[in-house]
C-alpha cells in the first residue's frame, strides 16, 4: 500500500540539528511556495525569493562538488 498522493504537495527529507531524519513539506500557498519544517516552522517564498534560493543552492552544490574533486 502506497501513500495516497496529494495534488500540489511534495515532500523532501533533511536532517534536523539533533541528527533526526525530518520531513520538509513543500506546497503552493497564496502564490508563494511554502516550506514547512518538521517542527512546524513555515517559510514562505515569493517566486523571486525562490529563484534566489535555487541559485544559491546550486552555488553551494558546485562548491561542494569542487571540494570533493580536490580531495580525490
Amino acid at each position: 500500500m502506497t501513500v495516497p498522493s496529494l495534488p500540489g504537495t511534495y515532500w523532501a527529507y533533511y536532517t534536523d540539528e539533533s541528527g533526526n531524519r525530518a520531513v520538509l513539506t513543500i506546497e503552493l500557498a497564496n502564490r508563494r511556495i511554502a516550506l514547512t519544517t518538521s517542527a512546524g516552522e513555515r517559510l514562505l517564498l515569493s517566486p523571486t525569493e525562490l529563484g534566489m534560493l535555487q541559485e544559491n543552492l546550486e552555488c553551494v552544490a558546485q562548491n561542494i562538488m569542487s571540494s570533493l574533486g580536490r580531495d580525490l
Partner: protein
C-alpha cells in the same frame, strides 16, 4: 503499564476541525519520542489522545477517501481502541460550511465518553497533508 512518550519538538501540527453542534476545535498531530507512532490528540484533549502505528496511519490516510465507514486500531494509554472514519453527515456542520467540499468524520469512544470531529474541505486537506508528513517521518518498521 506501557506508555508512549511524546516528543513535542520533533514534529508538531495543529489541524482545525468541527465538533458537531459545538463549534471549531484544533487537533494535534505529533510523533512519539521513539519515532514509531503518530500521536493524534483529537480536539487537543488528552482523554482522546491515541497512538497510531505506521500501518494504522497509512490505513487512515486511505480511509479519508473511502465512501464507506471503517475503523483503524489505535493505542490509548495501556489499552487498545478503535478510531472510526466515515464520510460526514453535512447536517452536523455549521450552515455556512454545508456546501463546502468533502467532509470526513473521525470518532473515538472511550468508556462513557465519545468525541466526533468533522474535517471539511481545506481542513481535510490539512489533515491529509500533516498526517502524510508525520507518516513519512516515522521510523521504518
Amino acid at each position: 503499564m506501557v506508555t508512549i512518550e511524546r516528543d513535542m519538538f520533533r514534529f508538531r501540527r495543529r489541524v482545525p476541525g468541527h465538533v458537531p453542534d459545538q463549534g471549531r476545535c484544533h487537533s494535534l498531530i505529533e510523533l512519539s519520542a521513539d519515532g514509531r507512532f503518530v500521536l493524534l490528540h483529537l480536539a487537543s484533549v488528552s482523554w482522546f489522545s491515541v497512538a497510531l502505528s505506521r500501518k494504522a496511519t497509512l490505513r487512515l490516510l486511505h480511509l479519508l477517501d473511502e465512501p464507506e465507514p471503517d475503523r483503524i486500531p489505535a493505542r490509548r494509554g495501556a489499552g487498545e481502541c478503535w478510531v472510526v472514519v466515515r464520510p460526514s453527515d453535512r447536517a452536523v456542520l455549521p450552515a455556512v460550511r454545508r456546501r463546502d467540499g468533502p467532509a470526513v468524520e473521525l470518532s473515538l469512544s472511550s468508556r462513557d465518553r465519545e468525541i466526533r470531529i468533522v474535517f471539511v474541505d481545506t481542513e481535510l486537506h490539512d489533515l491529509r497533508r500533516d498526517l502524510t508528513a508525520a507518516y513519512l517521518q516515522l521510523e521504518p518498521s
